[in-house]
């Protein structure tokens, strides 16, 4: 039988099993797993074995089989699920992952499994220990699948029908919708010129339908955070173990749904923030006890929906950051002037850690250790049309708050005119727009400033930053307030064109590598605009 049509499905389903696998192992190792988790783990290994054998992948089937056997011994309570077993299983899962990657790329290499199979088959606990937690709530004798909670059973009865769709199809759908929206704006422009009532009517109806279509497609593209969440416990666990820290890690809001494009991009930044939290934010168990905290540190990853945004928060109960110390460091490194530094609010000071080159250095580790690659994190979040904030309290812990749109490709922008061209700024990056009387501008040194809500903000010219000549400025200067290098600033433009939804297109080379450009779009009148990545302008 020709098995090639089944290969993609084999790869995707195996990967689903492996992801669940790692998460369950960590859960069981921490003692927070249930008996059902143990069975789920066993079933995963069992399914993997069956699928691999059917496909004729003998090595994958064999390794899964040894893993299944070890789990069978745990299931029958011949062994206790301890760290040694967790290590072996995770090692096995890693190896399986590589083997499945080989399958997906059609590599015909035979992976050397070393003596893993032997170690799995002959595992003995290092020392007889206590009873693992999942055995503690035994209600039924061992069987292949215990009865589930009745609630779970009910949910099966009205489970909606689902279909699997290739992700490219979803990408195509949103692309076509984006093109349609661009076209709608073209029709609107034509309609204005023609002053035709029937045409206007038709375009209004078209707009409504397109909005409906867009929101339906956005829904189709949404997948729950759970799709990526299972890899985080492993990241936290492995690092904590390596550096001798104790961490209780919780994930909340796995059911919250996000655009799959955003979700994919979100993984690396979150891994980064979590690693930082384990590595630097949390104290060692000894340090924690010395200041009266429970010895395991706590890290929570919380996802929740807020209107049309998704908020992802990573919080720890570690040592926190000292804003004054961060400002001093930034001044020392010449990243901010002493003047500007002194004016910084704590929230701005924490964002200094996201400046490129703020530090990967030892000296920061003494304070908080933030800063390693945080610039990359922040820039990814902003490219997704989101933004990021940091809260921290010395001695109590820190919170990283990421706000993300539900969908990416179509975003709302503020269109502004600079000299002869129009540029777009994602509205998520615009805190305010206003027109400022010239007489309200004052100077400190060479820096122009203005007051807003009792705060002194630097005033910069977007024309100058981008190298355009200034337009004819009147008595009122149009400007928008945004965050630039961790600092709120006012950016003066020639004029506001208005707010509009646009369909973002990625820039090709060589433009894609230019700093400060976040993409391009075509307006209804055919004009091409660049979308500014404000945070990386300077």
């Amino acid at each position: 039988m020709d098995m090639s049509p089944y290969r993609n499905l084999f790869v995707s389903e195996s990967r689903e099993h492996l992801r669940a696998f790692s998460e369950l192992i960590v859960k069981l190792e921490q003692g927070s797993g249930s008996r059902e988790d143990m069975y789920a783990l066993f079933r995963s290994a069992h399914s993997l074995k069956g699928m691999a054998a059917s496909m004729g992948y003998g090595d994958i089937a064999e390794l899964s089989h040894t893993i299944e056997d070890l789990l069978d011994r745990v299931r029958k309570e011949e062994l206790i699920f301890d760290t040694g077993i967790a290590d072996l299983l995770l090692e096995g899962a890693d190896l399986l992952e590589v083997m499945i990657a080989d399958v997906s790329t059609e590599l015909q290499t035979a992976r050397d499994t070393g003596d893993l199979a032997r170690r799995l088959a002959t595992y003995r606990p290092a020392a007889a220990g206590g009873v693992p937690e999942f055995v503690a709530d035994v209600k039924s004798p061992a069987s292949y699948s215990p009865s589930p909670a009745t609630g779970e059973r009910d949910s099966h009865d009205d489970a909606p029908q689902t279909v699997r769709v290739r992700t490219e199809v979803l990408d195509n759908l949103i692309n076509i919708t984006g093109e349609l929206i661009t076209n709608k704006h073209r029709l609107l422009t034509v309609g204005k010129e023609l002053e035709s009532a029937p045409l206007d009517e038709a375009t209004v109806e078209l707009s409504r339908l397109l909005r409906d279509l867009h929101s339906e497609i956005v829904l189709v593209r949404l997948i729950p955070f759970a799709a990526v969440a299972d890899r985080f416990p492993r990241v936290v666990r492995d690092l904590a173990k390596k550096i001798g820290k104790e961490v209780v890690f919780e994930v909340e809001g796995k059911e919250i749904e996000l655009d799959r494009g955003i979700l994919d991009e979100l993984v690396d930044p979150l891994v980064h923030i979590l690693r930082n939290a384990v590595d630097h934010a949390l104290e060692t168990p000894a340090e924690r006890e010395a200041c009266g905290k429970p010895s395991p540190g706590k890290i929570r990853l919380v996802v929740r929906r807020q209107k049309d945004q998704v908020v992802v928060v990573v919080e720890d109960d570690g040592r926190g950051m000292d804003p004054a110390r961060l400002v001093d460091l930034a001044i020392e490194k010449g990243l901010v002037g002493p003047e500007a530094g002194r004016l910084m609010a704590p929230g701005e000071a924490f964002m200094l850690t996201c400046l490129p080159g703020f530090s990967t250095a030892r000296e920061v580790t003494g304070v908080s250790g933030r800063g390693v690659g945080m610039d990359a994190v922040r820039s990814t979040i902003q490219t997704l049309g989101g933004n990021m904030a940091i809260e921290s309290e010395l001695g109590k812990g820190s919170r990283f708050i990421l706000r993300l749109p539900l969908t990416i490709a179509i975003i709302n922008v503020l269109l502004v005119r600079l000299s002869l061209i129009a540029v777009a700024i994602p509205v998520t990056n615009v805190q305010r727009t206003l027109e400022l009387k010239r007489s309200l501008i004052y100077k400190r040194g060479r820096q122009a400033l203005f007051d807003l809500d009792g705060e002194q903000l630097p005033l910069l010219s977007l024309n100058r930053i981008l190298g355009f000549p200034h337009g004819d400025a009147g008595e009122l200067l149009p400007l928008f307030v945004c965050e630039l290098k961790g600092r709120r600033v006012g950016l003066v433009v020639d004029s506001f064109i208005g707010q509009q939804e646009i369909f973002v297109k990625p820039l090709g080379r060589p433009l894609a590598s230019m700093k400060g450009l976040g993409g391009g779009a075509v307006l209804g009148n055919g004009e091409v605009v660049f979308i500014l990545d404000v945070a990386n302008l300077l």
Binding site: M1, M51, S54, S143, P148, H156
Partner: protein
């Protein structure tokens, strides 16, 4: 003459493979189920001529599902799918009224043989 078939397996991959084999034999897959609870419900709804039943599944295992299906319909034709090394389970399945067995990994020819046998062709 094609028969109506219900496929029960928690693996989509396995269901797809079986679907391929059954369809090549001219049978119609009327429904699929991914666990024992869904299997019993779909059996009741679709009344298939043939059901294939995986054993190791979440929510309710294949043997329990088999028992419930046989309680609904004493003549239900259920083919159990099990892996090598599950002989004790196969005994239990036989007692619960399994019509036949398919061993995993599937051998296409063997599966066809079993299908033809239970379908009475």
């Amino acid at each position: 003459m094609g028969h109506k078939v219900l496929l029960v397996d928690d693996s989509l991959f396995m269901r797809n493979m079986l679907r391929g084999i059954f369809e090549s034999e001219g049978h119609e897959i009327v429904a699929e189920a991914a666990d024992g609870v869904e299997a019993v419900r779909k059996y009741r709804d679709f009344r298939p001529d043939i059901t294939t039943m995986d054993i190791v599944m979440p929510a309710k295992n294949g043997i329990e599902a088999l028992r419930e299906i046989r309680a609904i319909d004493g003549n239900a034709c259920v083919i159990m799918c099990s892996a090598v090394g599950q002989e004790s389970l196969m005994n239990a399945a036989q007692q619960a009224g399994a019509s036949d067995f398919i061993l995993k990994p599937f051998n296409t020819e063997r599966v066809r043989e079993v299908i033809r046998r239970v379908a009475g062709d």
